[in-house]
């Protein structure tokens, strides 16, 4: 039995691409503006605060990418903490990293708000903070350096586009929401709904229930959903795991691939395989490989270059046209 979903391949496959080339638009930040002092990244102590357990493809690939790139660059002292999905713990983790004397912080925030105490401490010590995958609601270039990541709202909109395509602009759609209270959930939901309202008023969103980003929950909710709403045409899952749970539920209910169009976000290997198998209609990528871009940005900053206040990466779409060929790049 060959277990699926082995760790993401290293190398340049699936590397993040910046959407807006650096320095073309928006405010920028230099070392001078920030008020920091230059140091050598190789000999520096760098802290990385991960938000969730490395137990799903996204987090595994993210942490691995940071660690690999640090090793690649010869950064000797990388300290990694994991908040195990507890926001209070993440705040403490970062504070303890600061206490351990880190000079650069890379943070994958669990939540966008509530970073006040950390930002104060870091600002007092002039420690540059790069947040990855989720934003922090604060002032770039003073509270933190910059944000590197995807635009979740945009992801929702793109998912809506694919759904509208799939249904030909009309039908009934169900949403499998992420964990309640999570910024990602909120933005992916809003993006999707806004787009549907704007472009396809004939699509009704008749059902939204949380699947808490987990496969089992996605399966259970979908089972209930298709039983009492057999007329549903499409399912928008806010991450791949829930989409795959939905697939299991559809299989169990005797549906055929394509009966119900599923669009999801993330781009894990299993999901892309799901497109190949015909169960998923499309997947919007959310690329977790932040290592190279994060350290590149840090190096540029230390070299005195101007850094944009946000570095939005360009995520791909997977669908039947490219799924088979892209399997190797999915994480």
């Amino acid at each position: 039995e060959e277990p699926q979903g082995a760790p993401a391949p290293t190398g340049t496959a699936g590397r993040q691409v910046v959407q807006t080339p650096a320095g073309t638009a928006g405010p920028t930040c230099t070392l001078e503006q920030f008020g920091g002092t230059k140091f050598d990244l190789k000999t520096a102590t760098v802290g990385f605060s991960q938000s969730e357990k490395e137990a799903n493809p996204f987090r595994i690939a993210e942490t691995k990418s940071i660690r690999d790139e640090a090793a690649e660059l010869g950064i000797g002292d990388l300290k990694v903490t994991n908040a195990q999905s507890q926001f209070s713990k993440q705040i403490t983790d970062v504070q303890q990293l600061i206490a351990q004397g880190v000079q650069l912080l890379v943070i994958a925030p669990l939540n966008s708000d509530g970073w006040e105490p950390v930002l104060q401490q870091a600002a007092a010590k002039k420690i540059p903070i790069i947040t990855v995958d989720r934003k922090i609601n604060a002032k770039p270039c003073s509270d933190y350096l910059t944000f590197i990541g995807s635009d979740f709202y945009e992801q929702g909109k793109r998912a809506a586009d694919r759904m509208i395509d799939a249904l030909g602009g009309k039908g009934k759609v169900a949403i499998l929401l992420g964990a309640p209270g999570n910024n990602v959930t909120t933005e992916r939901t809003n993006g999707f709904k806004d787009r549907v309202k704007e472009k396809a008023p004939d699509i009704t969103i008749s059902f939204e229930q949380t699947g808490e980003f987990a496969r089992e929950k996605g399966q259970q909710v979908t089972e209930q959903l298709i039983q009492s709403n057999p007329d549903i045409n499409g399912i928008y899952a806010e991450n791949d795991e829930m989409a795959l749970g939905a697939v299991t539920a559809l299989k169990g209910a005797g549906k055929e691939p394509g009966d119900i169009k599923i669009v999801s976000v993330d781009g894990t290997r299993s999901a892309v395989q799901g497109i190949v198998d015909g169960w998923l209609h499309a997947v919007i990528e959310s690329n977790p490989r932040f290592g190279p871009l994060a350290f590149e940005t840090a190096q540029k900053f230390l070299d005195g270059e101007a850094i944009p206040d946000k570095v939005i990466i360009s995520d791909r779409d997977y669908d039947t046209t490219n799924a088979k060929d892209s399997l190797g790049e999915a994480y």
């Binding site: 991960q50 969730e52 357990k53 490395e54 137990a55 300290k79 990694v80 903490t81 994991n82 195990q84 999905s85 507890q86 926001f87 209070s88 713990k89 705040i91 403490t92 983790d93 504070q95 303890q96 990293l97 600061i98 206490a99 351990q100 004397g101 669990l110 939540n111 966008s112 708000d113 509530g114 970073w115 006040e116 105490p117 104060q120 609601n137 964990a179 309640p180 209270g181 999570n182 959930t185 909120t186 939901t189």
Partner: protein, 317 residues
């Protein structure tokens, strides 16, 4: 001091001793552990759990349990952040009022109907989180703290420690006096030790129980409000599983879950123990998240076994 007194002290302060031991071991093993900055971060981050644990101590000594504190904590934070647009007073009073009322309702149900506290407060856990989601647009809205004075309450510092630490210390002291030196405290012990007897001895059982749950609710709300002040926002994803941390801290501190025995010092030591364990795991640095969990589970088991053996040894002498 005779032998018996020494051993009694040992048992009552088992958690303090294990804490001391852990700190010594940690300092020897890691250079960056015993720094003031690290100590401060442990103490500051522990203070919110400590406030909750103080309330939980009363509940557990009275023979009950309160599973709703995690939800009240997050509700308190959201309400405080929401209220802060109307100024400091509202920011403080709104969460206290709501959480106090929730505690009051739970207390009334428990004391009046004789339903198990575990299940009543489990319903509280669900219901309060539901309420929190309802007022924050299913968790999508994060209210930001508007009032500077209120934010200062959570962020201001004296001697490198933020205000909540001092407030926690003051509350703990007050709680100790309340527990040991007032009729209310005696009633709490009596009810937990033997509820039927307490009733026959003239203890106002219903009233005391209600007070205990109100207190627990108030303290959880206060901790949430202070935390919101510290974070400058009413974060909606907090507090999941916090009740278990609080219970663990109280029990590690030597309070019996069956009620009737225990104290505040132990609970505070228990909270610090949990904080120190976390900090030690962070010091190790390169454990994967899964290993971190294994290690903290083992630590927890070790601590309770050590604590238990200490108290057993005491009974034999």
């Amino acid at each position: 001091m005779n032998r018996e007194q020494v051993s009694r002290l040992l048992q009552q302060h088992g958690a303090v001793m294990v804490l001391g031991l852990l700190v010594v071991v940690g300092s020897l093993a890691f250079d960056s552990f015993a720094t003031t900055a690290n100590a401060a971060s442990v103490v500051v981050s522990s203070s919110f759990l400590a406030i909750i644990a103080v309330g939980m101590t009363f509940v557990i000594i009275s023979g009950g349990i309160d599973l709703s504190v995690g939800s009240l904590f997050v509700l308190g934070g959201v309400l405080a952040a929401y209220g802060s647009q109307y100024g400091l007073l509202v920011a403080l009073l709104l969460p206290l009022a709501v959480c106090g009322v929730v505690g009051l309702l739970q207390g009334l149900v428990i004391a009046r109907t004789g339903m198990a506290p575990f299940i009543v407060t489990l319903a509280g856990l669900l219901g309060v989180r539901g309420l929190m989601l309802a007022i924050s647009d299913e968790g999508a809205t994060t209210y930001l703290v508007e009032d500077r004075a209120f934010a200062t309450l959570g962020q201001g510092e004296i001697l490198g420690l933020s205000y909540p630490v001092y407030l926690t210390a003051a509350l703990a002291l007050l709680a100790m006096v309340l527990l040991q030196r007032t009729g209310f405290g005696q009633n709490v012990y009596a009810i937990g030790g033997n509820e039927q007897a307490a009733a026959l001895m003239g203890v106002p059982v219903v009233r005391t129980k209600v007070y205990v749950y109100v207190m627990s609710g108030l303290l959880a709300g206060l901790a949430g409000a202070l935390n919101a002040a510290r974070l400058s926002s009413g974060v909606t994803i907090l507090g999941i599983g916090l009740e278990l941390d609080a219970i663990a801290a109280v029990v590690i501190g030597g309070t019996l879950l069956t009620g009737g025995a225990g104290g505040i010092t132990g609970s505070v030591a228990g909270v610090l123990l949990l904080g120190v364990i976390q900090s030690l795991i962070n010091q190790v640095g390169n454990l994967t998240s899964a290993f971190q969990q294994v290690v903290s589970g083992l630590f927890l088991a070790l601590v309770v076994v050590a604590q238990r053996l200490l108290s057993k040894a005491q009974r034999l002498t």
